[in-house]
Symmetry: C2
Subunit: 147 residues, 2 copies
Amino acid sequence: MSTSTYEKHLCPVAQALVDLGDQWTLLIVRDALSQKQIRFNELQESLGISRNLLTRRLVQLVEAGILERVGVEGSKRLAYQPTDKCRDLRLVILAMASWGEKWRPDPRLTRVETTRKSTGAPVELAFVDPDGARVPLSDVRVTRRRP
Amino acid sequence: MSTSTYEKHLCPVAQALVDLGDQWTLLIVRDALSQKQIRFNELQESLGISRNLLTRRLVQLVEAGILERVGVEGSKRLAYQPTDKCRDLRLVILAMASWGEKWRPDPRLTRVETTRKSTGAPVELAFVDPDGARVPLSDVRVTRRRP
């Protein structure tokens, strides 16, 4: 499936899908958002995909400005860290997680929990009026909890 | 990429991606959510993909319980209509649309607007406290507006 076909669709959903590529991309983003920076080997272990495929997806994510390559302190290794463009994908990932929890329920699933950093209280994704109260994204922490 | 690989990931995001398949799936869902029911030819015209590929994706969406095949009133034709499982994808689609509008801005893009059915006033997707005010999903209308 070629990216150029999507690009013809003048729709923000189609445009988002140009950058998000295939499903591995979103799983890489999910992992990258779970810690300050993440190394190639950690991603490979978490996802269980081939080194070649992971390398290609990471190159695309860096080109798209979603991940940044950075040095690891006290080591010669490189790691990947999320940019603001990546952090803004939290809403997409969390909307998917709640849908997956509701429609493909499985007691073995990791739970995705969203809480306020400041108080630890849970927060939820919802539609609100433009002047309605909301929790700022900077105060939202996403945690994955094993059952 | 095989579905069975995703299924090993005990994470609701990965589980959601099992059903959502590739990006065409989400674009079909987007189109199906925009009207009460939609016919094969309307989808093909909107997406510009091959009849074969569209047929395969529709079969998967019906099997996953996201679309239903229904008769068109006063005709022998069949159409597809969204189920509750599909309607619950509005949050995912809208989260993607706002991300696409912010990070791949293009004045030619269709705008995705969310308003209250009851008043026509705009609504936004946000994090809220569990007891915070929210607009019920049944009162949210999604409109695509050409520039």
